[in-house]
Symmetry: none
Subunit: 262 residues, 2 copies
């Protein structure tokens, strides 16, 4: 089976192209062991994509393809969080949730759901501390949500605040507020995710392909230069008229760092 249903333009960078990111692992269980995540999805390519991305966060991932196995797995391995597709072959996602709750009452769940199905069914989930993401999602988003869940559940040691800071630029993941030098900046959803990704990897060159893979949803099939475009947008809002923080590494990608004193 193929791992990637994706079709995308990646960057056309001759020399440097992609460079992987930091193995974050800045979330860990209280005893220091890696966070355990259970991914439940019957679409193999998607499950693979997710598990790759989550492993890359330094988490321990186990995947299951249906509700029954998921429940068994949860019982056995006691995950710190669950990623659960609401559409499963054998049973309904909410059904799984209910049973899960009976087994492991405190584990936070991140639901994956089709966009139109959100309506009445998923509402109320967030009240219980759970969260959801609509397909097609971006990996940045899934990871961010999962981090949020883990942080709030207390399962993971809170090494990580929801504030990202690079120089005088501050991004609040909870409120989605961004400011530079104390002055608020309005960003669109995409701009926000792009900036978050950059700020989570300060002083590290991120290739256009990486950015695309991470910030855009997995089914994005467009031109790679959206990345250039959004970098351009961000610069207008963040760097305009002050020492720049977003830098281009020609042929390699982009990086963000505190503005130079000079």
């Amino acid at each position: 089976m193929t791992t990637t249903p994706i079709a995308t333009t990646a960057s056309a960078a001759p020399h440097a192209a992609a460079k992987a990111t930091a193995p974050a692992a800045d979330l860990a269980r209280p005893d220091g062991s890696p966070v355990r995540v259970l991914v439940v999805d019957d679409e193999t390519p998607l499950a693979d994509l997710l598990s790759m991305a989550l492993r890359y966060e330094g988490w321990q991932v186990r995947t299951e393809g249906d509700g029954a196995s998921a429940l068994r797995a949860a019982r056995e391995s006691r995950p710190d969080a669950v990623v659960l597709d609401v559409m499963l072959p054998d049973m309904d996602g909410l059904e799984v949730l209910a049973r899960l709750r009976r087994e492991t009452p405190d584990v936070p769940v991140l639901f994956l759901t089709a966009k139109d199905a959100v309506e009445d069914r998923i509402a109320g989930l967030t009240a219980g501390g759970d969260d959801y993401v609509t397909k097609p999602f971006s990996l940045e988003e899934v990871v961010a949500r999962l981090r949020g869940l883990l942080r709030r559940s207390g399962a993971a040691a809170v090494r990580n605040e929801s504030l990202l800071t690079v120089g005088d630029l501050v991004l609040n993941e909870d409120s989605h507020e961004v400011s530079r030098g104390g002055v608020g900046i309005h960003l669109t959803a995409t701009e926000f995710e792009l900036l978050r990704y950059l700020m989570r990897n300060p002083r590290r060159v991120l290739s256009k392909a990486q950015i695309l893979d991470r910030v855009w949803s997995y089914d994005f099939g467009g031109q790679a230069n959206v990345v250039e475009l959004y970098i351009s947008y961000l610069r207008r809002k963040i760097d305009v008229g002050r020492p720049p923080m977003i830098h281009t590494r020609r042929g390699a990608g982009y990086l963000i760092k505190p503005a130079e004193a000079a």
Copy 2:
């Protein structure tokens, strides 16, 4: 086809145009044994070129020419990293990836791909921390990427930060930044790779042929004096107005070393 289940550390640095670099081996597995790399490519000359270069890094290399054998090899020898040509005779590169993932979920993969094929096929690959390089590539680039993957995967003991230092000259592989005496220096992509190669082999004479083989892509057909030209560029940016670090060994090549006190 080409199946070289050999395993060797390079030791001797032969003559001329070959790669006679340092037997680096500064990356090793946690238990101290050499890093194991699986190269999967059906183009024999390319596979040979790669395996020579990687062996010379002190790594243990095994090469396979098709997907099926590659999977078998991966299962048997449990490599620490895989170099995978996306175009294979029997099966698609992504197919191989997916199966590989199921066998050995955590092994990082470096993809080799034609430049124009990058577009829609490679997407999603960098998401899991994997990386890719477009053909024609330079050996320096492949090795650097592979190092990056190994370093981040944790398979290799982290003896090696992404910082290269020679005297007061510092090169950061993550941010692609270079500075001498604390002052930032802007380098182009080619200059950067050349300097990286020099700095990885301090106090060692590197011939123009070696440099060409290593820093320029394998299909470069131009004049050999590009090397002189780029050395000249580097000197202007690095050595100008201070004790020189880049030295010419007439008739032999170039070397870099900390500036003399005198």
